[in-house]
Subunit: 363 residues, 2 copies
């Protein structure tokens, strides 16, 4: 499992193993059995510029070469997420039979945004399937801040609830930062609390929860055999909930990360230098084939619903990446839907499970 980050030679190996052993004694390392991704502090490496990983070595572990005929591999998030969810269900059963306890997730949904309702419904269905208890508090668009905070307080205090999330975005008039800061840190399964974010950013620190979408992106890369260390990674978009934490996480995996945003000059030129491109803007087809280096690995986080009467639900979801063009240039691409989306839900279940295990001190 650690092999992916241990190719920097002896120095790297020793550092990682030391951290890894130190963490073995911590109760919350259970999730690493389910995921390819190790504890973050085990990724920390000595910053020794006199012993830089040499270039030739890195060439050896490069992303597969491409030809003009290549069609990119599809990174099948749906199937990977189903595998993980099945393992989570096993673990929930083991917990139930061992200590008679079940993880619980609470969701607060404010207003009647169609997309938010769909996301929440999907999360609840996924909980049911994994054997995780769930509760939803639906509040009308017209509710007061006090009503949201009161619902939050109830869930914070409920010992049968181990994860609480406020479905974002909230209606504009609410102060999201203020509301999220009332969420009990130990139940912040979305990982959006600034203390979690700080611990995600800082070497030597381990956040209680890694935000679900970034965690899912990394897992897709690892399970697809993509080397991250030493690679150029570009994250397009810098939202607090996806772009920023994804860039911090990729950096902890020792990618050389550049974050592109709306004020970036020539984003396509910079993106074209990247071995790994994560697009998280929410603008359909922003990333064209010309934005990609041949052989790049592309993770498309974008989800943009557009009306489509011919579809089952009356709409369909578009990503940030022009898929038809990307498959001709990239070595691997996540589809939308069926890429990052299912992974986000799986990571939410996993964060909830881990939170419950920590709460009950169940290893």
């Amino acid at each position: 499992m650690l092999a992916a980050v241990l190719r920097g030679g002896e120095l790297t190996l020793q550092t990682s193993l030391r951290s890894w052993r130190a963490l073995s004694s911590i109760a919350y390392n259970g999730s690493y059995r389910l995921l390819k991704s190790p504890p973050l502090v085990s990724l920390d490496l000595l910053e020794d510029w006199t012993r830089r990983v040499d270039q030739d070595h890195l060439e050896n572990v490069a992303i597969p070469k491409t030809s003009n005929q290549l069609t990119a591999a599809l990174i099948d998030g749906k199937t990977i997420a189903e595998e993980i969810r099945s393992e989570i269900a096993d673990e929930v059963r083991r917990m139930k039979s061992s200590i008679g306890k079940t993880p619980g997730l609470a969701v607060i949904l404010v207003g009647d945004r169609r997309d938010c309702q769909i996301y929440v419904r999907n999360k609840i269905l996924a909980c049911e399937e994994a054997g995780i208890r769930s509760e939803v508090e639906e509040l009308p668009e017209s509710c007061s801040e006090d009503e949201i905070l009161s619902a939050l307080k109830t869930f914070n205090e409920n010992p049968e609830i181990h994860g609480v999330l406020v479905q974002l975005p909230l209606p504009e008039r609410f102060d999201e930062g203020k509301i999220l800061s009332r969420l009990q840190l130990e139940k912040d399964v979305d990982g959006f609390h600034p203390l979690n974010m700080g611990n995600l950013a800082l070497k030597g620190r381990e956040p209680l929860f890694i935000p679900c979408t970034p965690k899912g992106c990394i897992e897709l890369l690892l399970r697809s055999g993509v080397e991250i260390m030493g690679k150029r990674a570009v994250v397009i978009g810098r939202s607090n909930i996806v772009g920023l934490p994804t860039s911090l996480l990729l950096q902890r995996y020792h990618a050389t990360v550049t974050v592109l945003h709306a004020f970036t000059k020539n984003p396509e030129t910079i993106a074209r230098e990247a071995d790994i491109v994560v697009a998280a803007v929410g603008m359909p087809n922003l990333v064209r084939g010309s934005w990609l280096k041949p052989g790049a690995v592309v993770i498309d986080v974008g989800t943009y619903p557009v009306e489509d009467p011919s579809s089952d639900h009356g709409y369909r979801i578009l990503g940030d990446v022009c898929y038809e063009e990307a498959v001709k240039v990239a070595s691997a691409v996540t589809p939308v839907p069926g890429g990052v989306g299912p992974m986000t839900v799986a990571m939410l279940l996993l964060n909830t499970l881990e939170s419950a295990k920590r709460f009950y001190d169940f290893v």
Copy 2:
């Protein structure tokens, strides 16, 4: 003062002014009178990819052009820091005469590392000069963790102390993260607490304290008239105390930031794309002239003491940048010493002053 970040057009202007006004009512915005840098949340901009700042516009505010004959301007951190320290002294006097109170800084110094002793001495001298009370707790190399924590507790509880810092690095056997986490958040004038770091990273959030060196780097750029928004910035080194927070801060100023580290392939090629280079590795002459784009602005954070019997103190300080080569390529460079170092000390005084103003609710 806001002009530097307001050149993105109407949209930008409105967003920034809204945030700015919202912050005007917060007690701790006092420091923005002394600095060019506004509250971070006033930098937050709508991520609207349909209205990207156009390239031509950005060309107009580019860094000055260079010729082969050019010798880079020297960014005189020493003089800028003296100006700021003199303004801090004025403000300390005003506080004393208005409410009879004086800001207080406490420093915990463990062991007998020569460089740490010098840094602490410089901080204490700077406090005296600005009229800030200071206390130093010197503990021997052989002290226990409990002794450090006990000193920390005493300072945390002392209402006349408004800033506490533990001089880093601690001797290796100590768990820095654990010790720093005991520091009272409201007195964390170094800004190293993970909650501060999360608030530095997240749009819409304002940390209680911005770490001193990154804050000093930004101030040098702003006072030198260097546009940050839309520029390519490269931060070389990703330490928790300099590289990481500097990259987060530059990103909040809307630079397109790439962090280079020891596992980066071809760092010189990437650095050569940057308009702004911040070097914070601690390896003398790592950054050669060939690493720089003509006209780049170079901030050298490196401080590496080498023995030099011919010097007054028996040693001299080297930076990360090969100064002789850099001045032939860059448009502006900070010297070492006399660049970032004095700014770090000035920012520490400012953070301490601001902390005291917040404590006494003194505007």
